[in-house]
Amino acid sequence: MWTDAYTYEMDAFWRVEKTAMVTWFKIAFRNLIKNKRRSFVTALAISLGYAAVNLFGGFTTYIYNGNREASIYLAFRGHLNVFKKGFLKEGQLDPRSYLLSAADIEAVEDICREIPETLLVTPQLNISGLISNGKVSTIFIGQGIVPSSIDVFLNRTTLINLVDIGRNALVDDKDYGVAVAYDLAHMLNLGVGSYAVAMSTTVDGQMNALDMEVFQLFEANSKQLNDKFMRVPFSFAQKLYDTKSADRLVILLNKAERTEFVRAQLERAFAQKGLKLDVKTWIEQSEWYRRVKEMFDVIFLFLFTIVFVIVVMSIINTMSVAVLERTREIGTLRALGLKRRGIMLLFAIESSLLGFGGTLFGIFLSFLGWWWIDFFRPTWTPPGVVTRIPLKIEFVPEFFGISFLILMALCILTSMIPARGAAHKNVVDALGHV
């Protein structure tokens, strides 16, 4: 019964308010124009906050996209990695037991053939050991990768336009040809065409050494890796470790959004076939991405909180002054029969017009900032990256839409604080207000 009565009352309210709405908008708009300077300052605060949120949101998206592409394509790790169950915990101690056998690899490749999202399935083997130029030795870590798979990764990322990673010089049929990171090459005085020796223990614990020729020098993805990283043909890595196995199968998909879906499909298939394999997504594998995202999410939250406070304070201040100045007008409207809800609606409209104007100007400021960066193309060196890269702000319509809705809701809700006070003011007191 109560709900019926309430619904009827609200229906009646909106029926009445719809016909008066044009007048309420007129009153609200004209009052904003009447107090030009105050309205402009408040709208400016909203627009600057809105533009700051949009631009920073665009910047974080650029950072996230860059890190995602770096993890998936530039690190040649793909969207999903398949390991022998337990490899990530025990694999270093007992590599022989936790490497993927040729049968495992074949089984996974068969399963992936049935998954249309799969673009590439390729084995990889990480190695580590000592590298020597005959005079000096130092440690290295290496990624054993099938050379012909490299171009599949590189062709699918736009990051190669930003980062100078060089063209792929490794070839499948020359497994002695390796790529060496610049700082490591510098330490050993190696250049393209130089020879060196890689030493390591095999999976059985025997010492092994292989000659290699430097086919390529490159910047590693991070400063920390640049003095120890090599990219070697998969078969070179297998020979050095004296194995026919791989430590992981890297799966590249045609869409990053399908990662979790494909992972679930793979896990189901592995369970059905009794394969004891683990599947990890690129996010789980990239601690760097997770940390950077977490950090920027916190900064974004911090910024949004500041904008939130500025907008709330501006609106409360502006609407409180408006309520104070128009107390007599509120009394008149109440005497004429406007209900309390009507008074609140009136100020909510005024506040939402301010919010709308502010965000509209904010869109202009956002595009101005976006255009400025696109035009002048400033460069920067992100943490952990070796070279300067262009700073970009992604245009993310969702940010514009969501922050617009949040700011509008904030304007309306905030205006309710002074408006509620105005609506509940005694009519006689309001009429007598000077």
Binding site: R15, E17, T19, R334, L336, G337, R340, G342, V428
Partner: protein
């Protein structure tokens, strides 16, 4: 109204603005409430206009006890049955004369075309046909009060409350305003109650209610 009192608290002091007022006003009457400043005229007008509540006593409007009405019901009652004319004119400054007059019917939810038609008629009635689009600050005091009268008349209310409607006008304009109210009262049968402390305006009324110190001396 019966045995109505109204007390105000001013800090620690309680002011007895009305002291046991008993009064009945019939349909179509043209009533002046007069008395010196502080006699309780405005308080009485506010109670009759259902924008204030008595401390004690009973106030009936068209047979309904106003103290039993919710705030929304009082708003509806004022919107449909009572028109207000204020001493300070109290027009909405950002609206034109026509838009000000349209307000009560828009609050009621009547379609705009009809509201506009009726509002123009009312403004013609008070002689402001040429000032439809003028904002209040472009109108003289007398013209503003005429707009306020048109606004009070627009919902065709039972009662119009005019609290010192001529206090801010010169005597010639004040007389014109009272004459206008009187002619509308005769023509439409609307009940008018206006307060004044100017005895010169009392010649043309049906009934005088003389207040002093919160009590009726003459009714």
């Amino acid at each position: 109204m019966s045995r109505v009192t109204k007390d105000y608290r001013l800090g620690e002091t309680v002011v007895h603005a009305l002291k046991g007022i008993g009064l009945e006003i019939g349909v179509g009457e043209f009533v002046a409430v007069w008395g010196p400043s502080g006699s309780g005229k405005t308080t009485l007008m506010n109670l009759i206009g259902v924008i204030d509540e008595p401390t004690t006593g009973v106030l009936l409007f068209n047979g309904k006890e106003t103290s039993r009405l919710s705030d929304d019901e009082k708003s509806e009652l004022r919107n449909e049955s009572i028109g207000f004319i204020f001493q300070q004119f109290s027009l909405i400054p950002v609206l034109s004369a026509l838009e000000n007059v349209m307000l009560p019917l828009q609050i009621k939810g009547i379609p705009s075309a009809e509201v506009k038609r009726r509002s123009i008629q009312r403004l013609e009635q008070v002689g402001l046909t040429e000032f439809l689009k003028h904002r209040p600050d472009k109108l003289s005091g007398g013209q503003q009060q005429r707009v306020a009268i048109a606004r009070a008349l627009i919902p065709s209310p039972y009662l119009i409350i005019a609290d010192e409607p001529t206090a801010n006008l010169d005597s010639e304009t004040a007389t014109k305003i009272i004459d206008l109210m009187r002619s509308l009262n005769r023509k439409e049968g609307t009940t008018f109650i206006f307060s004044t402390h100017d005895e010169r305006l009392l010649g043309n009324v049906d009934r005088r209610i003389h207040l002093r110190d919160g009590r009726i001396l003459e009714s």
